[in-house]
Symmetry: C2
Subunit: 418 residues, 2 copies
């Protein structure tokens, strides 16, 4: 059988470790040159496939690929672009097949979250519905940690570590200032629908910090919230609030919505922290400070979780091995065996069960009052932030890879995105 090339692309919001998965894919593919030809990366995700804008990763040195393991964000560019169904937009699928045929691509590795799993699943169906032999494997990636079946998602452990460390440090700060100045510090973190990232802020409770966590899973109750803040400030002199960007009122409206929507139709959020801070100021009179971590939290490779980096790399590697074993329409998963000591195996899930399913925080991970995390939640979270995996530094800054990203020569006429 002639060797087929592989296509790899990054999709959706990037993370501190998605490039570690890319590193795993490319390194293990290179180790199987007898079975896999070149790895072509899509420039800006699936758009690179549609527009035949492919990057020839074989032009990158082993050192450059190895450096991906400690480089944040998407080295090949990501995208927010969702394929419609085969019925709704057959033109795009025909184009994908044309590009794959032109470049002898038999393996499709798509590295993304829930929306991307859906795209990958649709592509995986091409081999049947359009008679083109292709194996599509999804590599999980999302800071939101909201994919089903897998115990956790690469990217999450690092953002959780960032949020826990930052919450601890800022809490020490406000504790220092509380006597005459700031009494409430509010940190806004990501998590549109699922509160996994906010939950990580709750870990500082075991370090003596009075913390209130506001989850998207719990309807925001202003009166109860203010009472909780007042109680903590009275007992400790200060408190820290970690608020998810997805925190919302009973009518579903977000605490802060900027009114713009992304390509998937999701509201673009930001600004819950100042809303919370001002509520506290008006009702209780406490001086506040607030921070919005935004991209800093998901790109913070400098404080990545070693566990997360390893899992991201290993899932990229596993995706290639699954393809070589003949699988299609699957996603490698983390299957937890035990919490302490932390043990896990790498398993596999069918994409049909992954696409378009969101995993929320179980109710028993959130305290009864809705403002904190429970012991089971801590047991779940703690293994995921274990270990540090520092990048190398030069002249005071981390050494991160910027690849050459040389294009593969085009063979087809241009294609207009609609």
């Amino acid at each position: 059988m002639a060797r087929k090339n592989a296509f790899y692309a990054q999709s959706g919001g990037v993370t501190a470790v998605i490039n570690a998965s890319a590193c795993g894919v490319i390194e293990i593919a290179r180790a199987h040159k007898d079975q896999i030809g070149k790895v072509y990366a899509g420039r800006n995700g699936i758009i690179g496939a549609l527009t035949e804008d492919l990057i020839d990763t074989s032009k990158e040195s082993s050192a450059a690929i190895a450096l991906l393991r400690s480089t944040p964000a998407g080295a090949f560019g990501s995208c927010r672009f969702k394929l419609k169904s085969l019925e709704a937009n057959k033109r795009e699928y025909e184009r994908l097949i044309a590009v794959f045929k032109a470049h002898n691509i038999g393996y499709f590795f798509y590295n993304g979250g829930g929306d991307s799993a859906d795209t990958c699943y649709k592509v995986s169906q091409l081999s049947q519905s359009m008679g083109y032999p292709l194996q599509a494997i999804h590599i999980p990636k999302t800071v939101d940690n909201d994919l089903p079946i897998t115990d956790c998602c690469p990217g999450f452990g690092s953002v959780a570590k960032y949020v826990a460390v930052s919450t601890l440090e800022a809490s020490f700060d406000v504790r220092s200032m509380a006597k005459t100045s700031t009494k409430v510090f509010v940190l806004e973190v990501m998590g549109r629908h699922a509160g996994w990232i906010a939950a990580a802020g709750g870990l500082v409770e075991d370090h003596g910090i009075p913390v209130v966590v506001l989850f998207p899973e719990i309807v925001f109750d202003e009166k109860k919230f203010l009472a909780r803040v007042e109680t903590l400030v009275k007992s400790h002199g200060y408190c820290t609030v970690v608020v998810s960007e997805g925190c919302h009122y009973a009518d579903g409206s977000f605490l802060a919505e900027q009114g713009t929507r992304d390509a998937f139709g999701h509201a673009q959020l930001g600004g819950a922290a100042p809303v919370i801070a001002n509520l506290v100021k008006q009702a209780l009179g406490y001086k506040f400070h607030w921070a919005v971590a935004d991209y800093l939290q998901r790109s913070a490779r400098h404080i990545a979780s070693k566990t997360d980096v390893k899992q991201a790399y290993d899932l990229g590697k596993k995706a290639v091995l699954l393809a070589l074993q003949g699988h299609n329409a699957v996603m490698p998963t983390i299957d937890r065996v035990s919490d302490a000591p932390y043990k896990y195996k790498i398993g596999m899930a069918p994409l049909s069960k992954v696409a378009n399913v969101e995993k929320f925080m179980p109710r028993n991970f959130i305290t009864e009052d809705g403002f904190g995390i429970t012991a089971p939640c801590k047991r779940y979270l703690l293994p995921l932030i274990q270990g540090e995996d520092y990048p190398k530094y030069k002249d005071g800054l981390p050494v991160y890879a910027t690849l050459k990203n040389l294009p593969v020569a085009k063979k087809l006429p241009p294609f207009e995105l609609q």
Copy 2:
């Protein structure tokens, strides 16, 4: 001569390394037990002295004191409280002397910024004006880096490193997303009057990042700014904006003022980033993300500059040595000898020349268009962010000191703060 005790206190906004100075003070005082008795720390800065709320640091173990070197924020509590002049509030000075006499305090170490240097200077005058023998030494500390005479201020190097690293990482993120999503990322950093912290964001330019820096020293020109952003997005596909909280219009009004003021009468700022982001969106239509680092930047001990930690410790140590040499009303300083290799000596400045003087960015550190930093500025900044000084970790989080902070028995009647 009977051994005198020492008073040490932390003042104003805390930093990632102010406890390293405390560590230096206490360790070197302990090494000179023949000359210095106990080190009493003020609980919440000078307020601890006024209210006779003293902490007996001799009750802390050597290990706990050593751990201060890698612990952010103020271990004894800080305060925003400015002594009035001797004429305006003689009552407070008389109280200070009463407390110092009651506890046999002959050394006053005050660890803070510009306002605190003023407080320390006033206290230093007590020995003359009120006939009480006291040596007051100021230990510089401010993330704003705006003290005169000293080449840099402990706390600044670490916040500069945090801002440079975070700007680099978030820029990699927006670069990944720019094709179909976010094109402009805005990071708001501290710096009420001086742009030193914002300047650190400019260091990423040498890593290929298109960055616009907005300084408090340069009046915000909306039209020129938008033109610059448009040029960079057209050439690079994206750009990053680092905006100082002190960025303001020609009439002096800040881009975002929350309307509240701190104890020193300074406006409490925050929210320049969303203002900038919305300007860009309205004028150019680019999708944006924004972050406000706030306390995260100044408490980020996990990514502290090794140079900064060492200087903070050494200046604390030097303050004690200066006192033992008989000095009063002085501040140890960093005197730069050369940029590359970076060499410096520890010098000394009279507090009369430090108090109430702010050091701004020199105009030749800012590019002619006002949106970036020059080569001399980079030569100045780079040595200050050199080296990493990681804390120890346990269970995924840094191990930071929380001291016992046991009180010294009171000997005086209560004192009401006014």
